[in-house]
């Protein structure tokens, strides 16, 4: 940890240009997006999983439309949660494997900001597409068209919070073999409030009522995750790379 604190002084002494933290974060965000877009077929996997899981509910419970509408919010949110959890496994894995994560820690830039950039890239590639696909799957579950915008909005807020909390779990399980299940066990208790408020907001939206209350709570969770999540993830990454 001391090495990272003295790096800016070292780089200044050696004559290397000082890079502003936001510039470094933007560069990291762009790099992550560019790398992921080179493997476009892998981006579809969380979406396919989401669609499959959401399809399981009407097949397993009941295809009758009134019952479907009742279980639609829960099915959508559980499906999105599980899809996001599976995708979170890969947030740091590649960079930890090839040593990039170590370089980020040693770069002298604030690690929390860099991890926020990585999480933002991950969200743009998984959380955002999941949120945009949710109304479509909601339609197959009988969600009325008036609720589509609300469903997307709740999913966007919820997936932001989930990505940030998931980053903590992904950082904690760095380097553990077959960490997918453990990651889910660690993240799910912390993700339950998001699920509760998100499903509540979706239910209210389907009924045509105001979603202000659960949305505000979801926004509060998202802000909490945004401010404190990267700090916890940075501590966890440093521990994982010791």
């Amino acid at each position: 940890m001391n090495a990272a604190a003295t790096m800016p002084a070292v780089s200044a002494a050696v004559g290397l240009p000082r890079v502003a933290p936001w510039t470094a974060a933007r560069a990291l965000l762009a790099r992550d997006l560019r790398l992921a877009l080179r493997r476009r077929d892998q981006l579809v996997q969380p979406l396919a999983f989401f669609a499959l899981v959401t399809t399981l509910f009407p097949l397993a419970v009941s295809p009758e439309s009134s019952q479907l509408r009742m279980l639609a919010p829960g099915a959508l949110w559980v499906g999105a949660l599980l899809a996001a959890l599976l995708a979170l496994d890969a947030l740091f894995r590649e960079d930890a494997h090839d040593g990039t994560l170590e370089q980020l820690v040693l770069s002298g830039q604030p690690l929390a900001l860099l991890l926020l950039a990585k999480t933002a890239a991950h969200w743009v590639l998984t959380g955002l597409p999941l949120s945009l696909m949710a109304p479509l799957l909601g339609f197959t579950l009988g969600v009325p068209a008036v609720a589509f915008a609300a469903v997307t909005a709740t999913m966007v807020l919820g997936s932001v919070a989930l990505s940030l909390i998931g980053a903590i779990g992904a950082a904690l399980t760095l380097g553990i073999r077959r960490s997918g299940v453990l990651l889910a066990i660690l993240i799910l208790p912390l993700a339950v409030p998001i699920l509760i408020f998100g499903a509540r907001a979706t239910t209210l939206a389907i009924r045509g009522q105001s979603i202000a209350a659960p949305m505000e709570l979801l926004a509060a969770l998202a802000v909490l995750a945004l401010t404190l999540g990267p700090l916890a993830a940075a501590a966890a990454v440093r521990i994982g790379l010791e």
Partner: protein, 244 residues
């Protein structure tokens, strides 16, 4: 100079001997208080006007629930101390607390279910209080699972410490869940400023809670000694202490 006691607690042989000295006191005091509290509560206290004799499970349920939160708080504080000051003994304390806290949480949930069936008509309702207590159990299990998935002890300590500190956010949620939301579970009837429970029922409850707390103190010290022995098994003082 004022902090030497704190740093002395971080010395494994010191805490090993201190724990050995404290455990009998805590254990016997706990035993007496629990027996007294339970006898008073199960036999002497009058039956409730509404619940009859069924309310007496409160003398086990409330101490278990209170301890499930208190143990997590201690675990989180010890984990934070270990993370910030890098004191190994603090990590040992957190590791010792976890299984005890998980057991108390499971006991609180189980006694709550046994109480709920006759009184509410159901074993379980998905209300904030019960749901957040269940999440507390999962947080304990996640902590123990994360700890056991590392081979390197130092990494296991520090990673699970981060998890413990992050999970502390659940403790106020469990505590205030009956204040923030309308809940089938009753609101708090005992607080620092007073209580709405009749004295003849309140006294055995407080005695029982104190007894259970001292019991936790005794068994956490026993577990801590075992944990310290395991971690320091190659040290010279261990060989002397164990007498091998």
């Amino acid at each position: 100079m004022a902090w030497t006691w704190f740093h002395r607690l971080g010395s494994p042989p010191y805490i090993y001997r201190l724990a050995a000295r404290l455990t009998p006191w805590l254990g016997w005091a706990a035993g007496l208080l629990i027996v007294a509290g339970l006898f008073d509560g199960l036999v002497l206290a009058p039956p409730d006007y509404q619940q009859g004799d069924g309310f007496r499970i409160i003398y086990v349920h409330v101490p278990c629930a209170w301890l499930s939160l208190m143990v997590y708080t201690w675990m989180g504080v010890a984990a934070a101390v270990g993370l910030i000051w890098r004191i190994k003994v603090a990590h040992a304390v957190a590791a010792a607390c976890a299984p005890i806290g998980a057991s108390f949480t499971a006991a609180a949930l189980a006694t709550g279910m046994l109480w709920g069936k006759p009184m509410w008509g159901t074993y379980w309702v998905w209300t904030p209080r019960l749901t957040s207590e269940l999440l507390l159990l999962f947080l304990y299990l996640g902590y123990m699972g994360l700890r056991s998935s590392f081979d390197d002890l130092q990494r296991a300590d520090r990673a699970s410490a981060v998890l413990a500190v992050v999970g502390i956010v659940n403790v106020p949620i469990v505590h205030y869940s009956v204040v923030w939301w309308t809940d089938l579970h009753q609101g708090s009837s005992v607080s620092l400023t007073g209580s709405s429970i009749a004295t003849s029922m309140l006294v055995p409850l407080l005695v029982s809670m104190l007894g259970f707390t001292l019991y936790f103190g005794a068994i956490v010290l026993v577990r801590l000694r075992a944990e310290v022995l395991r971690r320091e098994r190659t040290a010279a003082w261990v060989r002397e202490a164990v007498g091998a």
